[in-house]
């Protein structure tokens, strides 16, 4: 089995691959974890991970700049229904539109927008950075075996607001409820960083490998 972490020039890729390797060995699975931007790898993959760091616009440009990547992602995810896991800005890219820097079209897999975090309280810093607690909204094959108030690590200044609220698997409280994870068919994403969230994060990645 092959899992490819899509390398489009951004992200703490090695950090992600090391946690997936740990999840893989702890679950006695047999995945090869590869970091690649090569279309043949992505085509061959059973599962994909879409990392993301930096602005929505920069991430989308990163994808567009690799010849054929956008099309192949659509083909793999929408037609072949391969499971994909988006991390942070990688999850945000699932949206129809992002508003960071300038209005940018996303992958448009989950209808909704990515907007700047607006805090009612002056005391709340932006980015929302550090360990925060999750609240379980619905059960999903990836976001399961979790407990309310488990801690995960966030760093972000923008939030995903999906149109259909039933895709929301987890939320977190930062002055208000923020989407922490989404699940829609074969598409899964976390606003937080499972690769930096110790046991809880490894558990989520194991769930993704097992589905």
């Amino acid at each position: 089995m092959l899992l490819t972490i899509v390398d489009y020039g951004v992200g703490n890729l090695r950090s992600i691959s090391k946690s997936l390797e740990k999840a893989n060995s702890e679950s006695n699975l047999n995945y090869s974890i590869k970091i690649s931007s090569d279309m043949t790898d992505i085509k061959k993959s059973d599962k994909l991970v879409l990392p993301g760091q930096g602005s929505f616009k920069a991430c989308k440009e990163g994808i567009n700049n690799i010849d054929g990547l956008h099309n192949e992602l659509n083909e793999s995810v929408l037609n072949k229904k391969k499971p994909i896991f988006g991390i942070c800005a990688g999850m945000q890219l699932f949206a129809s539109i992002g508003h960071e820097e300038t209005k940018t079209e996303g992958l448009n897999w989950i209808s909704g927008e990515v907007v700047k975090l607006k805090m009612s309280s002056e005391d709340l810093k932006i980015p929302h950075m550090g360990w925060n607690e999750i609240k379980i909204k619905n059960t999903s094959p990836v976001f399961k075996n979790l407990t309310n108030n488990d801690h995960v690590y966030f760093i972000h200044s923008y939030e995903f607001t999906p149109k259909d609220k039933s895709v929301i698997s987890l939320t977190t409280d930062y002055g208000k409820n923020i989407v922490a994870a989404v699940s829609f068919r074969n598409i899964f994403g976390a606003q937080f960083h499972p690769e930096k969230s110790q046991r809880t994060g490894i558990g989520i990645l194991s769930n993704f490998l097992k589905i």
Partner: protein, 252 residues
Amino acid sequence: MLKNRIIPCLDVSKGRVVKGINFLELKDAGDPVEQAAFYDQSGADEICFLDITASHENRETIIEIVKRTAEKCFVPLTVGGGIKNIQNIRDLLLAGADKVSINTAAVNDINFIQEASKKFGTQCMVIAVDAKKVSENKWEIFTHGGRNNTGINAVDFAKQAEDYGAGEILLTSMDKDGTKSGYDIDLLKKVTTNVKIPVIASGGVGNLDHFYDGITLGGASAVLAASIFHYGEYSIKEAKEYLNSKKVPVRL
């Protein structure tokens, strides 16, 4: 609710931890990777490596350490010391760092913050501000371990760094560093009330009340310490339990 973070900082020179510790659990206490893994297991919210020699030949060494650490550490890892250009940052991120801490390069040219944050995102840009009090209510930035006064106002610089794309400020009081007499609360307060981004307090921790003061009086989002943890005076667990008992939100 978002928790305040406790960050142990490891000073690394030529691949070895400089301020030593004597944890019996560790086979090789001078190995930064072993120590990072130990802190990861002990409840550290993040780990910070500071390459204090940061010479050219040391870049390879620190990258090797970061690579090995990424295999054992599943909390965010920040690496600082001697970062001069975009390539240095990319090398560290590819090795397994999650954030980089930039000091002199940002002080020399504020545009470097913008260039780097556009490329890698503000979330991985920690700007280290080393400040020394020069007169009442006035702090200036010093570089080269406190030897070189730049004449730049530290509070103004922190604000400017935020505007240019810093995701976080690592604020060290050069007056307090090593004194064990607590953080410079006035400096901390001044910076945290002037920027929207999180501020990590650094320099001066000698007991657990200093963490409490840094967060509650100084407004720090995270507190960093070195020797108090390395010499086993207090464990991270003790620090967190103490803060929790005083109603400061921490991840237990």
